[in-house]
Amino acid sequence: MIPLYGFLEGDTIGLVVLADADDTVAVLAGKLQAAARLRAAIDGPITVLYEGKPIDLESTVSEIRMQPLGRFDVRRGPTA
């Protein structure tokens, strides 16, 4: 398990999300959205950033080389 800091656009706080190395970025984004849904939700397409850069939703956590305690963001709208 890799602990990551997740930030959902529209939310008021960063959450700790435990990622599996095999999780796709889409699954990881889903974990954050589930954890934050009391306060915020994104309907429609999303963009995920890792340490400020957009990443492919189908890639896995290990492929992206996400490091423990790294930051990812889930934002509204499709990746440009």
């Binding site: 602990p3 800091y5 930030f7 656009e9 529209g10 939310d11 008021t12 706080i13 960063g14 959450l15 700790v16 999300v17 954890a35 934050a36 849904r37 009391l38 306060r39 915020a40 939700a41 340490e51 490091q67 423990p68 305690l69 790294g70 930051r71 963001d73």
Partner: protein, 492 residues
């Protein structure tokens, strides 16, 4: 026979040339602070109150009698039970954060009383230490009577003795500000920035609100404390003036650092009460308006007076005035079982007021409260955990508060790799403070790092109960159990 003013100067200005020990040994930099200057540089030190010990004792006696009289008249449990529910929750928050921090300020003041570089400074600091002892005892005494009625008031004494996340943040601040700082840093950080700069918003602004809701005891308590603060806070300005003269850059650094750290604390402790927990009909101004009136105008005048600049993060701070306490309140509401006081959901009238007071930022917060309202609408009254977060939240490696700086659109958290470890900060100013003196902060572990190290449980309920020190009777709930007159429930 000397006149009072002639005698007072003789009694206060008692410094002499040391011959048996070197001045640097009697007043080492590690305790007295930097810049280390010869005694002559401090010889003109003075403050306007110029109080003698007999005058101090007589004045404090009168104040104590006055507080006791109000306590006898309106300090019973029944008097508190008549107060609005939201206000009582703000009272629990203040009651817990105040007294033991004041007790730590006794230590800081005593360091000034021994290591301050002028005898008049040392005399004023000694009276300041006695003040802080009083500020510890008054809230402990007043709230103790309420514990049998509501066990959350027990946290008035308990908070600082726990590993609750608020206690970790409060200790991180007060250990550095009050216990560990040298005499110069204490005078500038505590007496000048914290007390002269910020406590007005607490002691004047909140006191006015207490008057409005009919909490005569709180009004009297903070008024009495403020009369002491106004005196010993005067230690700060003449210390700052001397430091500015000899090391302007260091003076600017201390101001920038402590304005930011003080701001984060007051935004939560005072911002929650003013904009959320005080009933709407008793609110006079928003927290932002109070900050402008009681903090910013005076602080900016002081900067001009000393020829100092606004902190480099001034634009970030101004954005925070519109956002930070809203970010933290919504976050804390959804993790209310992790603290010792209850929360109130802003209803339609409160949200309209907040929209009027915060036109640029509130549109980002309204959907959050709409979602929380919808969750309550689908839940049974009193079923708090149906409207509660379950994930582990994240904390800043400097201030130890939740990562809730910036805005809902753009959280300001940022990462730093230092010395083989990864740190995360809620804001650029917190990161900047860390980077100025990393050796001072690097070894401290926030709650998340403690969980990852196995020191604290990862399960939220276990964390709240076993590590934060709360149980069902004391953990925070919705003050109304989600049962608001304006909230119509959907039939099942």
């Amino acid at each position: 026979m000397l006149k009072r003013d002639e005698w007072l100067d003789l009694a206060r200005k008692l410094d002499w040339e040391l011959s048996y020990v070197a001045e640097k040994d009697a007043f080492p930099e590690v305790q007295s602070g930097r810049p280390w200057l010869p005694a002559a540089a401090w010889a003109g030190w003075d403050e306007p109150f110029r109080t003698s010990y007999p005058e101090y004792v007589a004045g404090q006696h009168d104040k104590e009698a006055s507080v006791a009289a109000v306590r006898d008249a309106v300090g019973r449990v029944e008097d508190f039970q008549r107060l609005p529910r939201g206000w009582l929750e703000g009272l629990k928050l203040h009651a817990a954060t105040l007294p033991l921090a004041e007790f730590a300020a006794v230590v800081g003041s005593l360091r000034g009383a021994r290591f301050g570089r002028d005898s008049a400074w040392r005399s004023a600091a000694l009276l300041g230490a006695l003040d802080e002892m009083r500020h510890t005892q008054i809230p402990l005494l007043l709230m103790h009577d309420l514990v049998r009625w509501d066990p959350q008031f027990d946290w008035t004494h308990k908070l600082f003795h726990t590993n609750n996340w608020v206690a970790i943040a409060a200790r991180h601040l007060s250990d550095e500000l009050l216990l560990a700082s040298d005499a110069i840093e204490f005078a500038i950080a505590t007496n000048f920035v914290f007390e002269t700069g910020f406590t007005n918003v607490q002691f004047v602004g909140l006191s006015a609100l207490a008057h409005g809701v009919g909490d005569k005891m709180f009004e009297k308590m903070v008024g009495s404390i403020q009369s002491d603060e106004a005196r010993h806070a005067q230690i700060g300005a003449p210390v700052l003036a001397t430091v500015v003269k000899h090391d302007r850059r260091y003076a600017q650094y201390l101001l920038d650092k402590w304005f930011w750290r003080s701001w984060l604390l007051f935004a939560i402790v005072t911002g929650f009460s003013m904009d959320y927990l005080t009933p709407l009909e008793h609110r006079q101004s928003s927290f932002k308006e109070f900050m402008h009136e009681w903090v910013l105008d005076q602080f900016l005048r002081s900067l001009d007076e000393f020829g100092l600049q606004r902190p480099w993060y001034w634009d970030i701070f101004l954005e925070g005035l519109d956002n930070y306490h809203h970010m933290v309140y919504a976050s804390a509401y959804s993790y209310r079982a992790s603290v010792w006081f209850n929360f109130v959901v802003p209803g339609p009238r409160e949200r309209a007021w907040l929209r009027e007071k915060y036109p640029s930022s509130w549109p980002e917060y309204d959907p959050i409260w709409q979602r929380i309202t919808e969750r309550w609408r689908a839940a049974d009254p009193g079923n708090d955990f149906a409207v509660h977060g379950t994930a582990i939240v994240s904390f800043c490696d400097l201030c130890q508060l939740v990562l809730s700086n910036g805005t809902p659109r753009a959280n300001a958290a940022n990462i730093l790799d230092h010395g083989g470890r990864r740190y995360i900060f809620c804001s650029r100013p917190c990161r900047w403070i860390f980077e100025q003196e990393p050796e001072r902060y690097a070894a401290h572990r926030d709650v998340v790092k403690r969980v990852l190290a196995g020191e604290a449980p990862a399960n939220l309920v276990a964390l709240v109960q076993r590590y934060f020190g709360l149980d069902y009777d004391t953990w925070g709930k919705d003050a109304f159990g989600g049962d608001y007159p304006w909230l119509e429930r959907r039939p099942a």
